[in-house]
Symmetry: C2
Subunit: 344 residues, 2 copies
Amino acid sequence: MLTRKKGRAALFLTLILLAALALSACAAKPETAEQAAPQSASDPLPSWNEGSTKDRILKFVADVTDAAGASYVPPADRIAVFDNDGTLWTEKPVPVQAAFAVARVAQMAPDHPEWQTTQPYQAILEKDLEMLQSLGLEGVEELVLGTHAGMTEEEFESIAGSFLATARHPRFDVLYTETVYQPMLELLAFLRANGFRTFIVSGGGVEFMRVFSEEVYGIPRENVIGSSLQYEFQTTPDGGVLIRQPELVSFDNEAMKPASIQLHIGRRPIVAVGNSDGDLEMLQYARAGQRPFLALLLHHDDAEREYDYLTGAEEVMAAAAQSQWLVVSMQRDFATLFPYEAGD
Amino acid sequence: MLTRKKGRAALFLTLILLAALALSACAAKPETAEQAAPQSASDPLPSWNEGSTKDRILKFVADVTDAAGASYVPPADRIAVFDNDGTLWTEKPVPVQAAFAVARVAQMAPDHPEWQTTQPYQAILEKDLEMLQSLGLEGVEELVLGTHAGMTEEEFESIAGSFLATARHPRFDVLYTETVYQPMLELLAFLRANGFRTFIVSGGGVEFMRVFSEEVYGIPRENVIGSSLQYEFQTTPDGGVLIRQPELVSFDNEAMKPASIQLHIGRRPIVAVGNSDGDLEMLQYARAGQRPFLALLLHHDDAEREYDYLTGAEEVMAAAAQSQWLVVSMQRDFATLFPYEAGD
């Protein structure tokens, strides 16, 4: 089971990389902005359409915050965890960090003449999709480690910040940080207004997400949990720095997600939000707690406004159908998708 | 350097274990309660004696919270990290978790007949100090892993909670959680009242500390960083559980402390508080940030009220003398030591 999933993960990562490369030079026209959803002072979730999904979210929060009710959960236990790619922002055509890695290769190539003859860099520089495909998971790992390590944390954040401040989504032609989902921003704020602490638990790199988590999601850096590299502490004349090592310590996906939740939070979440099989174990872990529990699964079924896909979410959707997990239909439940459409 | 420190760490751990064993059956008479420090509504640190140490703490907090001043630090960056053993609570005659491990051996022995002939358990059960000493670091590791793993997180917390609810400090004859330092509790609360987020960064086990961190320190579970074991996720009929594995993932000491701060917090602290060489790298890391920075080192120089020792703190004290790090003298600066003496 684990092996099968790992094999599939390798395939996905390779396909993602291929797509990132293919798309690295193109940008489609921006879509026409949608009609902004009507804003209401009394509605904490104005970008969610009325219906059973929204009702269930509102009822859950009302129940767990009603001190006189049977479902009351004290504030200390109000933990909400969110996956990032595909849950809080668009992960198509490729996860943003894959686009970043490909961009980094081009940027770093002048200082790495050996990359002209070293894989997977050579394939990326030559846009050799066939060769890249043949490199598999090891090639992807090498790429991430080669482009994300060998510098201080501060240097990495500066580089990632520059990318996020300039690179544009190939279809929507906006900054990647503008492809976050307005309904999810509202849900995050609504939960926090009701005493929840909100966390990201993602397979993405922890430092990559921290570059924008506070400003965009209102999630402080210490509440961002993700994949991480080994750090090496080096003393300096004025103290010390951490150098990012080309060694993956944690790939925060699948069964690693509940382990990371335990390591970083130490409580089972009562709200867990995801969109793919990588979130299955996180939802299972949260479900087995002693508290009321709300699981949300975002189903990307909106090709017109975003994307329509189920690949990589088959298992978690099957589990949702057998449980009380709430499948959120982007087409049906999201009145507005992106903040720039909401007219803020 | 690293090897030397590791060798010394092994020696310390062994000595700690020996002391824990020797003390596991004895309890001295309680000390006479001290005169409680005068409480003042306007003094946020009533258990700190007046003087330059207290003045410097108060001035630092006033400076970084003065929005018009040159030393202003926005709330997002107000991170304070505290070591635990010997900084927030008494670590003599042995760290509390060592006493817990020894107690666990006696408790678990009936279910482990093989321990009668397996080291280090046999030595502990037979109180064979000489044999125990010869086992070194590997014996200590085996002991911790053997007594702390093989159960769910919930089970471990229940066991640790029972120990902390009943076991008493051999000298002070109070619960171990009553040997926390009242001045440090006040400092934690004072920092939080000024917009700081407070964290523990300790070599102690993260789940062991979480059992009491919220109630005793006001530090939420997610702000506790410590040594951790490998977790294995197992699905269950109603979801899933994490089983603690006998494998150490992180010994959160020395150079691991800055790495853990980066992994869990993602910001350099502007307040760092410690008491031993295990805190040196944490202080160095915090010092090299771009913000104003306050380092406190607790010097245990009070044999009458607590303990007087410098062993294991030689390097960090030498570094403090060369820097602007503030050495807190327990004898001079602490008006009251323990909460039960403060008359609350």
